[in-house]
């Protein structure tokens, strides 16, 4: 039973890797207090999802979906098309988040999320 699951997991190793990357990214995101590090973790999570998506599109023996003569078997082009959008969205988010990081550093003088909350909390009280 468990052997079978392991075999399936091995067969789906791309999926498994992307899931692992996702969890690593999420863990980094939750436990690290540095804002830039958080953003890197976010990017890792995003690329993990992209990897997952690309892996969905793969077909055994398929070629790149460029309709050149003589090629008959292609990988699924749809995930690729979607991921293209995903990558651009991800970089947009990162850019804006980094701009906010720069501003936060300007205002608070630190990149530590806990410290920022502490500074803000002090002002509130």
């Amino acid at each position: 039973m468990s052997m079978e699951i392991l075999e399936r997991l091995y067969g789906n190793i791309y999926y498994l890797t992307s899931v692992i990357l996702f969890v690593i990214g999420f863990h980094t995101m939750l436990t690290h207090r540095n804002l830039i590090k958080k953003l890197m973790a976010l990017n890792i999570m995003d690329t993990a999802i992209f990897l997952f998506f690309v892996a969905i599109g793969y077909r055994q023996g398929g070629q790149a979906p460029i309709l050149l003569p003589g090629v008959t078997s292609f990988v699924n082009p749809v995930p690729s098309a979607l991921i293209l959008t995903g990558i651009v969205i991800s970089v947009s988010f990162t850019a804006f988040a980094l701009a906010l990081v720069v501003l936060l550093y300007k205002h608070y003088g630190t990149l530590d999320s806990d410290e920022i909350i502490a500074i803000r909390g002090k002002k509130h009280v």
Partner: protein, 488 residues
């Protein structure tokens, strides 16, 4: 007569085009403002026409690029979409007006207008999307623009709040994308209708996939729509944004994600599947907790905008509650509440913004006697607050009525009691606002009313509060059809 065939896409594209042009007009502010308002007005007219058309002729489907559903992207304007985009266009037009005429709060004015336009366009895009990835793209636009219209204020607090919002929002997007990937994996389609048809066959084969996809989707959109306990970003973000942004965010944006979730639920999965899974129970519990927790947190706030923000958490709970109770009337109540809460919360945020700007007071305890100094503004606030409490005769009563009736219909009297309990709690936190303003000593004789142009949106919304409180029948057909779509 101009054909309405293209109206759905035009609503999005007009706003987008205006948004692309407006930031170029930094030197011609007047033109920019005119364009900003004109686009809003045009889209409002279009959305009325579309809503009327949907009522008359049924669901509109628009194939972008001329490619029919499985391969191209379809816009599906059913009753729900028409209704919500009507709400969005009308409320956002009011907010546009306010943003143009209210005192300046942001440095980069044309950029701010463009961001608001983009946000509105994205909201229309979300509610009309018939393709799940298209929905995702517009969710991303709106998330980014929503964060941006907080950050433009430029204060320490707003930057901090918007950063937190951005991070959580990005996490939510990740969840959404992941769930789309999982759904695509088991269906091979992106069109929501076709996904549902395929899922009816394959869901049984990959139950865990569908469940995981659903979980990620609920969490992803739940973060964005501030479903308890994922609401932690909301109070800071909404309280520290510029006035018009707060109104837009609290009034519309949060709800659009709920609409997106519901549309995915009934278009992609089918309600049977959606509620076969334990998601419904979880949503019910979360919504109840949201209602209670939002209200309780709101009670202890002294900062008015934070109070309003926490109240939004509770009100989002209402909407989720209505949708997950799933009796016809409860869904109608939730659909009503989308409109009514948009009206009330926009009214309150705008009016409170006016008060804060005119007086400089941000706390309830400072408002002494302002009711006499700013009679019109405070009359509007009073109406809004009464409506939030759900006093009969105001719009807020209607949605509570339908929600409570729906809870009883669903055989869950406890939720009716919960709704009423939260009404009581909202009375506890909204009435001090009014009482402090009207009774007691007069503390600030120098405060005056703002100009009439600033007050116009408030008055319009206040009239809307009264109007829907007394004559809800006018939108009832649309609401009924929406509920039919969902409970079908």
């Amino acid at each position: 007569m101009f054909s309405l065939t293209h109206a759905p896409i035009l609503m999005v594209v007009i706003l987008l085009t205006a948004a692309f042009i407006v930031p170029l007009l930094r030197k011609h502010l007047l033109v920019a403002k005119a364009l900003f308002l004109g686009a809003g007005l045009l889209v409002t007219i279009l959305s009325f026409l579309v809503a009327w058309n949907v009522l008359e002729n049924g669901t509109m489907v628009y194939n972008v690029g001329g490619w029919a559903a499985p391969h191209g992207i379809a816009l599906v304007v059913d009753a729900f979409a028409a209704y919500v985009s009507l709400v969005i266009s009308v409320i956002s037009l009011v907010i546009f007006w306010f943003a143009v005429f209210a005192p300046r709060e942001v440095k980069h004015e044309v950029g701010y207008y463009a961001l608001i336009l983009l946000l509105t366009a994205a909201m229309h895009g979300i509610v009309m999307a018939g393709d799940i990835f298209n929905l995702f793209v517009f969710v991303e636009i709106s998330s980014l623009a929503a964060v941006a219209i907080i950050a433009v204020k430029g204060t320490k607090e707003s930057i901090e709040a918007s950063f937190r919002y951005l991070i959580l929002s990005a996490l939510g997007s990740g969840g959404l994308l992941f769930s789309i990937a999982l759904l695509f994996m088991v269906t091979g389609h992106l069109n929501m209708d076709l996904m549902r048809q395929t899922l009816e066959v394959t869901a049984g084969q990959y139950p865990l996939n569908v469940l995981t996809a659903l979980a990620f989707m609920v969490v992803g959109l739940g973060v964005k729509s501030a479903l308890f306990p994922l609401h932690i970003w909301l109070p800071d973000a909404h309280a520290n944004a510029p006035t018009a942004s707060s109104a837009l965010l609290s009034g519309l944006v949060v709800k659009v994600y709920i609409v997106a979730l519901m549309r995915i639920a009934y278009m992609t999965l089918g309600m049977e599947l959606f509620y076969l899974l334990p998601i419904r129970q979880i949503l019910l519990v979360m919504a109840s907790l949201a209602i209670v927790a939002g209200s309780v947190f709101a009670i202890v706030q002294d900062n008015i905008k934070r109070l309003l923000a926490f109240s939004t958490v509770a009100q989002v709970g209402y909407i989720f509650l209505g949708f997950s109770l799933l009796s016809a009337r409860a869904v109608e109540g939730a659909v009503w509440h989308i409109l009514i809460h948009a009206i009330m919360k926009t009214l309150l945020f705008l009016a409170v913004g006016v008060v804060i700007h005119q007086s400089g007071y941000k706390k309830i305890s400072q408002l002494h006697g302002l009711g006499r100094r700013m009679p019109l503004t405070f009359a509007c606030i009073t109406l809004g607050a009464l409506s939030m409490v759900g006093i009969p005769g105001t719009a807020g009563f209607i949605s509570k009525l339908y929600l409570a009736l729906g809870a009883l219909d669903a055989g869950q009297a406890i939720f009716a009691v919960l709704i009423l309990l939260s009404s009581l709690l909202s009375a506890v936190y909204y009435f001090p606002l009014i009482i402090t303003a009207y009774f007691g000593h007069d503390a600030s004789p120098t405060v005056v009313e703002p100009s009439l142009a600033v007050q116009l949106p408030l008055v319009v919304l206040a009239i809307a509060v009264l109007f829907y409180g007394l004559m809800p029948s006018i939108l009832l057909p649309l609401v009924r059809q929406t509920a039919l779509l969902i409970t079908r």
